[in-house]
Amino acid sequence: MLLNDLWFGLIAVLWIGYFVLDGFDFGVGGLLGVLGRDERGRRVLINTIGPVWDGNEVWLLVAGGATFAAFPQWYATLFSGFYLPLLAILVCLIIRAVAFEYRGKGHSDTWRRNWDWAIVACSVGPALLWGVAFGSIVRGVPLSSDHEFAGGVLDLLSPFAVLVGVTTLLLFLTHGAVFVALKTTEQVRERANRLAVRLGVSALVAMAGMVLWQSQLRFDPISMAAGTVAVLGLGLGLVAARRGRDGWAFAASAVATGLLVASWFTALYPAVLPSSTDPAGTLTIHNAASSPYTLTVMTWVAAIMTPVVLAYQGWTYWVFRRRISTRQIPPSQPAGQAEAQLDDRAATGAGPASA
């Protein structure tokens, strides 16, 4: 039925949106210590994603909600079956969310350092685990004939799933570095560009291996094509990054991320969660779906709301299009002022800085 195909496609689009957008948030968070070498550098990094990370994360909530609405059987099996990895992801997302907000609101260096560590760990964790989760979905998991998960945690850690996890981790770190290069100036930008190329090469290798392995597991010409273009796109992105063409590099890593996700979904179709044991357990876009009435209602809502959301989220990126330099970071806290002045003094080698 057309509606089921449509919703399968729409959920793929929501996940693509989530990984393209929150992917660079994870990358920026994961590289916080590497790219932002001092307090101001780290604050520049956090502020590149400051206005947008929360809106980006909503893509996940909508992907989850849309899965619940359109394919409740998929939602139920997936979320109860992938219990512990999801728990870890949720804990990371909670800590990351409050870390951005709370980090600058304390007064001590220890406070900020602890939150920095939390941001790094809670960005790297989901970047890896989301890939592992989707690797397990593509590869298939043990399902009983009544579509219940019939495996254990180890069934979610197959070598293929781990490779997908490594791929997403490296890809998101690259994507994040490219984003930082696009949004900053001077040393931070140069460091980000250099790191993007180095990380990008390993991401490229992991991704190429993953695409090949995926084609062995579930061959589908469209999936294979999407995966291949993703690899090529990332390669072109790295060339652009090397030449300092930040905009093109970011566009390329975004396309590579989107097409990678598309290659998972096209490999799956028409299944949404294949069973690796009892074939009767496989969930498809038909046996996992809601009724045509519900899908029709949701189609209207999505058709009206999605363009509106894209318009205002796009506008946000336009409003905050300017690059951020270390000089623009204001001293934040009353107690932080003393520290900022110390920074200035150290930077200029001069006496007390006047505000």
Partner: protein, 481 residues
């Protein structure tokens, strides 16, 4: 270990915790939008300082509300997968609508609001806060529609093949009378929560006569909000009680621990009896009030728990259809008591501060600050009442709580997540409260600092400047994490 009991505890803890922050977000967003509009209209910097002060508290609170909200959406699938399978055709739709309509709106425009002081005109910036407010209110609407369906399933037919409800009328789910009155009740409670916090924090400063120019208007706005909010809570709660008596008579009988069907039913304000409430040793009663609340007339007949239990056994088969009576009885009283107490606080506050008066007695101010606790307790007991009162059902009359739990998730897994979430939430609660208190006590920024953050051409008395060096590439960000 029983996964069902653990999953129920987890749902209770995570939901009550999440709903500590949500009403403050909803209430404060609306009040801040009002104050920021006053700044746009009058260009009086006092209002700018005011909105910036409340903005700091708002953001600390919003972050934790968002963070804990993710768990809410995911745990239906994690701990309650059979429930998700059963109601997915109906229940998923309002959840997805909440994401598409509300979450995108509030998070995107809050990002613009936080970082956009020097990028947007004051008018557009204030519009962002109105959109954040609209997003938070829309979010409440959709999630309450989903909850109202659980309390009173409508707009469905039961599929003969699967035995599951199939959505036939989305309008009935989104606009059923129970949903409309519940939304009104919750929205009023949110306004009340924001207003009480605004009042209590302002009282802290006014008691010390600090920044009176900022906190006197805040106090008056807060007090007006407290009176409007508490009146609306009481009126909507009264209507809700009547709708509830129709659709869930057991819950209302349990709220009163009324065992036998009675006309002229009295309402006990205080009752001391055996723990399960079945025998009363001492009570203060208002004659006819329960009948009035339930039916609209003092002579109306209110069904008792024992009779409803018998009816339900005939309708649904053998089983115990009684909720936990002491919990429903006491949470109902605490909720109502707090509503009336806050109305008294609001009226007394407006009287004491009439015509620019500020009371001198310290205990008056201290009482106003202590009142901050009340709406949070009231919101929590209100939800505990309405959810515990629905037991043993998740979807009333269709699906029980014990059928709803995930069949493949082990007790150990649920215990792990219960311990992790509870521990994490406890730590975050301590950090959150300390940050809120510290930032509240720091007080508002100076007029100069407040004005420095908006675009130069938007500053009062500085209209000629236009774009200048302070807005060049190296101008400090008006806000930075």
């Amino acid at each position: 270990m029983d996964p069902l009991a653990l999953a129920r505890w987890q749902f209770g803890i995570t939901t009550v915790y999440h709903f500590l922050f949500v009403p403050l977000t909803i209430g404060l967003a609306l009040l801040m939008a009002i104050v920021e509009t006053a700044w746009v209209r009058t260009r009086n910097p006092v209002y700018l300082r005011t909105v910036k002060f409340w903005g700091k508290l708002f953001l600390i609170n919003f972050a934790i509300g968002v963070a804990t909200g993710i768990v809410q959406e995911f745990q239906f699938g994690m701990n309650w997968s059979s429930y998700s399978r059963f109601v997915g055709d109906v229940f998923g739709a309002p959840l997805a609508m909440e994401g598409l309509v509300a979450f995108f709106l509030e998070s995107t425009f809050l990002g613009l609001w936080i970082f956009g002081w020097d990028r947007l005109s004051p008018r557009l910036h204030a519009a962002c806060m109105w959109l954040v407010s609209a997003g938070t209110i829309a979010s409440a609407y959709f999630i309450l529609a989903a909850n109202s369906f659980m309390q009173h399933p409508v707009g469905i037919e039961v599929d003969s093949a699967t035995g599951r409800p199939r959505l036939t009328d989305i309008g009935a789910v989104l606009f059923q009378p129970l949903q409309l009155v519940t939304f009104g009740h919750v929205l009023a409670a949110c306004l009340l929560t924001g207003a009480v916090v605004m009042t209590g924090v302002s009282a802290y400063f006014l008691a010390r006569r600090r920044d009176v120019d900022v906190f006197r208007p805040s106090l008056r706005l807060g007090l007006v909000g407290v009176v409007i909010g508490s009146l609306a809570v009481i009126v909507s709660g009264d209507v809700q009680g009547r709708v509830m008596t129709d659709v869930q008579p057991m819950k209302m009988a349990a709220a009163e621990a009324l065992y036998d069907t009675t006309s002229h039913a009295s309402l006990s304000l205080l009752s001391i009896g055996t723990l399960d409430g079945s025998r009363e040793t001492f009570a203060v009663r208002v004659p006819g009030l329960l009948s009035f609340m339930a039916t609209g007339g003092v002579k109306g007949t209110v069904e008792g728990i024992n009779d409803i239990q018998q009816q339900y056994q005939q309708r649904f088969g053998p089983g115990d259809y009684r909720p936990n009576i002491p919990v429903t009885y006491w949470t109902f009283r605490a909720m109502m008591g707090i509503g009336f107490a806050l109305l008294a606080v609001g009226l007394a506050g407006l009287w004491l501060t009439r015509r620019r008066r500020l009371p001198d007695r310290a205990w008056v101010w201290r009482l106003a600050t202590l009142a901050i606790v009340l709406p949070f307790v009231g919101n929590s007991v209100g939800w505990i009442f309405t959810e515990m009162g629905r037991q043993p059902w998740t979807v009333f009359g269709l699906f029980t709580t014990s059928e709803s739990v995930s069949p493949t998730v082990t007790g150990g897994e649920v215990l792990t997540s219960l311990v992790v979430f509870t521990g994490l939430y406890a730590v975050l609660a301590v950090i959150n409260l300390r940050l809120m208190a510290r930032h509240a006590k720091a007080g508002p920024v100076s007029t100069a600092d407040a004005l420095a953050s908006v675009r130069r051409r938007d500053r009062p008395g500085d209209g000629e400047g236009g774009s200048s060096a302070t807005e060049g590439q190296d101008a400090p960000l008006s806000f930075a994490y």
